[in-house]
Amino acid sequence: MTAMLEVRDLAMEFAVGGGLFDRLRIDRGGVRLANPVVHAVNGVSFSIERGQVMALVGESGCGKSTVAKAIARIHRPTAGEIRIDGQDIASLGQRALLPVRARMQMIFQDPYASLDPRQRVRDIVAEPLLEQRGSRRGVAEEVAALLARVGLNAEHGGRYPHQFSGGQRQRIGIARALSVRPGLIVADEPVSALDVSIQAQILNLMMDLRDEFGLAYLFISHDLSVVHHIADHVGVMYLGFLVETAPRDALFATPRHPYTRALLSAAPSIRDRSGTPEIELVGEVPSALDLPSGCCFHTRCPFAWDRCAAERPVLRDVDGGQAVACHLLDEPERDRP
């Protein structure tokens, strides 16, 4: 069976632009115009099976949201394939994307900015359905059923977004995404703007809907405890590269990449108050305008040696479905502080 989503060598670059004088460079050869490019995503590959949850984690600027937006085709990727049910949508035009949107929908981070303040809730939820069908027949009943399914009642349909709390707005966003019965939902930080008690309600709702409709989720998050709860498979991103992917339990039990290990040990935990972190990171993420040579992480990695600055490691399978992009795999004896 083909995977619900298969991403291969996805790359996304953004030209920075700027005025003539910002880009002017004067060097030995004379005057020239620079064209700086942000390398937001650099060759990311993964796949998601039906009914599975894949989480992408990483810190701000690591490219996880850009991956989500490229897959939802809000951005047109610079290179690579995005296969939904086997069909490559990476370079489709807007008209050809319309039927694809019946199979893939998105839930956004900010429940305040992602709903049109001038539309009533029932119109917000109905919009994808009307786009897909071009007919109003049966839509009102379906919208009522969707609102009920996400825990809102029928009278809420006549109200406007500002009359709802953040958690309720996220329920509206979920109902809208669900309306066309997609097989895949791309959820970009869907609970990070919510209070923790509301977060739990929304996560429970998302997992119930997965079981009920056989949904696959691409779940973007920076919160490791949420990812641990919801994901079947986890990908760790750093500076636009996928540095490690693994089944959930393997990743949290035996993280292999030094960045994954640092990320896990930096996360504060309410249950585990034990001692000092395994790896403490110093310094900050380098600029995506000017990627480091070799391994993207070598500037902060406590184990890095000369090979790491010279040669870019590729993602390689290790046991248990885990894949890691790190030269330590070849020289494990260097893995000590």
Binding site: A200, Q201, L203, L224, S225, A266, R271
Partner: protein, 327 residues
Amino acid sequence: MSTPLLSVRGLRTRFDTFAGTVRAVDGVSFDIGAGEVMGLVGESGGGKSVVGFSILGLIDPPGQIDGGQILLDGEDLARAPERRLQQVRGREIAMVFQDPMTSLNPLHTVGRQMDEVLRLHTDLGSAARREACVAMLDSVGISRASERLGAYPHQFSGGMRQRVVIAIALLAGPRLLIADEPTTALDVTIQAQILRLMRRQIEQRGAAMILITHDLAVVSEMADHVTVLYCGRVVERGATAELVRAPAHPYTRGLIDSIPDPTDRRTRLRQIPGTVPDIRNLPAGCNFRGRCPRAQDRCAREEPELVAQRGTLFAACHYPLAPGETP
């Protein structure tokens, strides 16, 4: 505990708006001793930031402090004149705000913003002030400190800016630091760096800290004791380890259970049903009863007082939880 450094007694702060009176802080009391870190936790609208602003006398109309005492070494700041508060702010109590992007002035260099604190609160000459600024930037982990004094805030990353904000807060040697969500805008590896830095600075200087946050995980790693707010009232307080392990109030239990637990393989999270009530129209009795699985008739009639429970815990609940009991 001997005389606490800061003792807040029955603090009330209200905002009179056209839509009604908001009692954002409604009778909050707590103590902090020198060298201690207190976590002040709760969800949005719980009143935790207003507590911080009230202590610093930063409540502007239509808000006002409506009652209670804020005793810093016995001196009541709630009744102090504005001129006295100006001396206290920055010198004895300093604040670190959530957003490092907006809490620095973009038009002034970092050095000038640091220097201002010392000019206002010390009699040091300009060379000595500069030296103090360099030493402080250095101690919060900013390299090439003397060069960076001439840099503007936009030349720093978010984590570096928060270091600058912390450096400014600590410059005049305050005895109390109020940190309002100091790491919420930062990434997790940067958050770990900043929290370690704040903890170390507090310990070295024998100062105290109020850590205002919605993140119980951060509190459990940082704080000596915790005060939990709900709708402007203290619902529970106690030593961190005890409160996190076995809280007595169902709201605290609910907050802790809402955080996914990696060791618990259940598929559904235990959630607190419903949402925070409208603070302008709070129900009679216990504010939490609409969301509480243990609520009885009594909870609708009688407002619970904050009373001693087991160990160090105080909770405002008619039907508190026994250790290990779920709501």
